[in-house]
Symmetry: C2
Subunit: 472 residues, 2 copies
């Protein structure tokens, strides 16, 4: 590599770190014996290695026990840094398909997921560089044999290299399909000749410099994910039916105990069958989310669940794409994660308070649909519960909180500020229902003006979701 290019690469990387407004992800995949490791080593040698992370994975037990994409989300570089993935998400699909561990339809589905994943990253400031290294089949064979014969380098040849040599034509065909399906201006492929005597490092360094400091590419949004149509999405206004009479205490207690016993059994069975459960609670301030969650968790084993209160992000979270903080909290199989406020903050508080730009929260609808689709595809139970109170009822509860010593901490300045924007929030909530109400990931709109009925309704909903999943 020429000195001037090395210098530009280093300068570009330092600028990347200084500005910390984007990160760079380099994926290196392709045929066997094309010198991928040598290329990555050469690049790594030229990069500032304190700002670079290289990943070549064999998934761990923690990774296998979570939705597929978790293993990549957790490894995304923070803004200002470079992440290098050898094979990465492409290798998983490519080799699984070549070895017929994955059907053609599943392979196509995975490519669509990859396209969406990369579009989401790009929109969040991740610059993507993707390399496919090619080699002629005969040359590949000669190269592998030469390596095998050299005692100093024989260790470089693995069993799977020979297998991939035999599958050269199939991998070429799959690679072409893969590149075709995932080519985008924001995530372009570069096909390079690999193997002995080839030195593509210069071309790649050039691409990295562009990715680090060049103009941001136009993001090509993937086709929106259409949710399988089911019931109509709820609307806040439709709760206006005459309120049922209040529940007397004895009756409430009996029904609560029944619902909790049922939940305990369902949760135990879900744990036994390694089914993860993700519950998202949203609702106006003082709608009683905490109380409902408490009635839920009372029926669960403390070792099985975790409640995540979603407030302001930490600085590590701010340095990653917005969805990272939710991915990192996904439960292991068999566990329950309860979100007290959730990823929907993106289209509620961040929208209404102007914390996210309109283009950003608008694309979040699709990102959320995909996020939830990943959970469901992994076999998770997904419950989305919205607790709605009327404006008058909220005011009554605010006053009650202000007057009760052990509830006073629950009432903050922010609650009063949010209340002033009541109508803006209502608009955002109804729009959220329309855009994110699917068959499996449907919203339950729960009338929370009566706390007792609301708690029973939450338990009923979660029980039904679990029972539907357990009956599959």
């Amino acid at each position: 590599m020429k000195e001037s290019l090395r210098f530009r690469l280093l300068e570009a990387q330092l600028a990347l770190a200084r500005e910390a407004s984007r990160s760079v992800v380099l994926v290196v995949t392709g045929q066997a014996a094309t010198g991928k490791s040598a290329l990555v080593n050469e690049l790594n040698h030229r990069l500032e290695n304190r700002l670079t992370e290289v990943h070549a994975l064999a998934p761990s037990s923690e990774e296998r026990a979570r939705p597929y994409w978790w293993r990549y989300w957790r490894r995304l570089p923070a803004r200002g840094r470079v992440g290098v993935f050898i094979h990465g998400w492409y290798g998983d699909a490519l080799f699984a398909r070549a070895e017929r561990r994955m059907g053609e339809g599943a392979f196509r589905d995975r490519l669509a997921e990859i396209r969406a994943f990369e579009a989401e990253l790009a929109a969040e400031g991740v610059a993507l560089v993707k390399l496919w290294l090619d080699i002629d089949r005969d040359e590949q064979g000669r190269h592998l044999e030469a390596l095998q014969r050299d005692p100093e380098r024989a260790w470089q040849v693995k069993e799977h290299d020979w297998q991939r040599h035999l599958q050269h034509a199939e991998l070429a065909r799959l690679g072409e399909a893969m590149r075709g399906a995932t080519e985008a201006e924001h995530a372009p492929w570069q096909r390079l000749a690999g193997g002995p005597g080839q030195a593509p490092a210069k071309a790649v360094a050039q691409r990295l410099v562009e990715a680090m400091v060049g103009a941001r590419p136009r993001i090509e949004a993937p086709p929106p994910l259409t949710l399988p149509g089911g019931s109509q999405p709820p609307r806040l206004a439709t709760r206006a039916a005459p309120a049922p009479p209040p529940l007397d205490k004895a009756d409430y207690r009996r029904r609560l105990a029944e619902a909790q016993a049922r939940l305990a059994g369902n949760a135990r069975e879900a744990q036994r069958r390694d089914i993860p459960v993700v519950l998202a609670f949203e609702g106006q301030d003082a709608a009683g989310k905490g109380g409902c969650i408490h009635r839920l968790t009372s029926a669960l084993d403390a070792r099985q669940y975790r409640v995540h209160r979603i407030g302001a992000p930490s600085d590590e979270e701010r340095a990653h794409p917005w969805a990272w903080r939710f991915w990192r909290r996904l439960p292991l199989d068999g566990r329950v994660a309860i979100f007290d406020r959730s990823w929907y903050g993106r289209v509620l508080v961040e929208r209404v308070e102007g914390l996210a730009a309109p283009a950003d929260w608008r694309r979040a609808y699709d990102e959320i649909r995909r996020f939830e689709a990943r959970l469901l595809a992994h076999g998770a139970v997904l419950g989305k519960l919205f607790l709605a109170v009327d404006k008058d009822e909220q005011l009554r509860r605010f006053h009650a909180r202000a007057e009760t010593p052990h509830k006073r901490h629950k009432l903050t300045e922010e609650d009063w500020r949010n209340r002033e924007r009541w109508d803006d929030y209502c608009r955002a909530i109804d729009e959220m229902f329309v855009h994110t109400h699917g068959v499996d990931g449907g919203w339950a709109l729960i009338d929370a003006n009566d706390k007792r009925r609301a708690r029973l309704a939450v338990l009923e909903r979660v029980n039904r979701l679990l029972e539907a999943r357990l009956a599959r």
Copy 2:
């Protein structure tokens, strides 16, 4: 639990979260069939569950491939939060010893480690509450049989419960030894009667309230870890021997290539044998740490190593005991972690700049010795390299950096400020050598006035460490 106690518990927990100056760790262990789960569920029901984390572990593959304590460090609650560990580090030792998977000596060693671990946490503001639940052997048997007969609750009885029933006397004996060895004012044991009809939740809630808001206990420091005596610790002044003549470029290149080839072979073998390698680089500004690390990593496979530059901690790191940020970066077995500045910042920059109180950086010597002892006990190779330059040479390099466009970014205001405290740093460095120079974890003081010789010396040192380990 009485309403007033519940209220005090909740209030205490909210104060804990608001102040975020300490965290609470509750460990629950003891005999089988004592209702540990029921107790934890009851407590969890009373606690604010958005601020509480319950852990009952079966270690994952990622955990087994790192030093033993990693699994607990990663799960430590942040300040303001409560972490509940069922059996936790006590269960590991107790059951391993009872089942004779662990010898008596190793059991004693582990108890000493526990004592030190808890003292370290306490000194960092973690309030510890430890419970041992007891039950009479006959009552335990009757209770287990009753559970077994009840179709609703038979699932609660596990194979190991019967085994532990048979070992009741042995577990009682081990438990007593364990409590005796780990009792401390900052980490007191509470022995309670468990089993049917017992409701120790009230007593425990009372202890939790005290831990959350009570006076901080006096921290009883564990006996300092004496390092096996070996060579004398280095001293900065002892480098004053007449400098060897500079190395000519051709000679340097040849020797560098040889050392790197040797390192490549050693690192590959370490990877094959799943040996983790941890290298800590310290040195004055402009001593050439980056250049040395670069020469090292050039000989390694990019997939095998990771360079961690240690600067200001993130807010998540600040919310944990100071060593947490180093524990979280420990490599998997077979990988290499290179720290560009390290945990020694605690007794260098944090000491000299007054970022840590004297009592805090002073106890760090012992904490560091123990941290490194854990790495070594796990079988890691630990290299600690200090690159020393003279004050004049540093000034020459500062000027050279200021004049070279592509090195200018390396020179900051802070470098000049640090230089003003040259003597303070020298004193701290020499003291660090004295306190943290052991046989296996010894310091290599490397004269870095000649960059070429320094790089060769670093490679030589790392090669020797690897070869000594590989020869075991």
